[in-house]
Symmetry: C2
Subunit: 142 residues, 2 copies
């Protein structure tokens, strides 16, 4: 059993326990999400899912993404320009760098920044629920 298969197995079990029905199209989309190493949008996820499970519609992709987001299994990002992009929730939090020229998305993590965010919220009397932090960059000119 591959790692991706194991992850989906665990996830479907969790979903079932949460009262969410595990359908063919949900399994397929989940597999696509777990297997993706990028940040595709709904249309792209639809295309990839259709390859595995032709009996899926774009509406269902959108609906399932919302369900999976509510369950905490996927995360939705709204980078500048264009629609929402998605990724399976991984073990570790990270933020994103967007290459303005290629559109590619990279990931990074800074404990220092994470701590400072908490601190800033706390100083103003707030609890930080979540945040958004995106660096829009260009390759450095040599």
């Amino acid at each position: 059993m591959t790692l991706a298969q194991d992850m989906t197995a665990q996830m479907t079990a969790a979903l079932r326990k949460a009262g969410v029905r595990v359908t063919r199209q949900r399994i397929a989309l989940l597999a696509v999400l777990v297997g993706a190493d990028d940040h595709p949008d709904a249309e792209e996820l639809y295309k990839r899912t259709k390859r595995v499970e032709p009996a899926v519609s774009l509406a269902t992709v959108y609906r399932t993404l919302s369900v999976l987001e509510a369950e905490g299994v996927v995360q939705r990002h709204s980078f500048e320009g264009g629609g929402a992009r998605f990724e399976a929730t991984g073990p570790a939090h990270h933020d994103h760098i967007v290459d303005l020229d290629s559109g590619e998305v990279f990931e990074f993590n800074s404990d220092k920044i994470e701590r400072l965010q908490e601190q800033i919220a706390a100083e103003l009397g707030y609890d930080l629920v979540h945040h958004r932090m995106e660096l829009y960059c260009r390759r450095r000119k040599p």
Copy 2:
């Protein structure tokens, strides 16, 4: 001459110099933006501008906001949920805290975080062009 009037005077001069025609509706919208101390969306800016200059349309508000954004005079924000919100560009950069319960937007600034962002981009071989950083918070439970 009030401070807001002075600011708009300077701005219109700069716009004219940049080849942008200064119309009644642009002056009015600019005044509204400079006078605002919040982060209104296009519809709200339309309402406020109409009070001062009834001869304005929502389409023109959108178009003018894009023009002013291109000139660097206003900034566009896309917080979670809802459409774009705008503010006149101030003297100092700042980031935002969004109160998840009230929807209110507050501002903050952290030189440390700004520096860390530059550093992270640089380490990955990138030049930071701009960034987005928003803290979604709830008032701390006492």
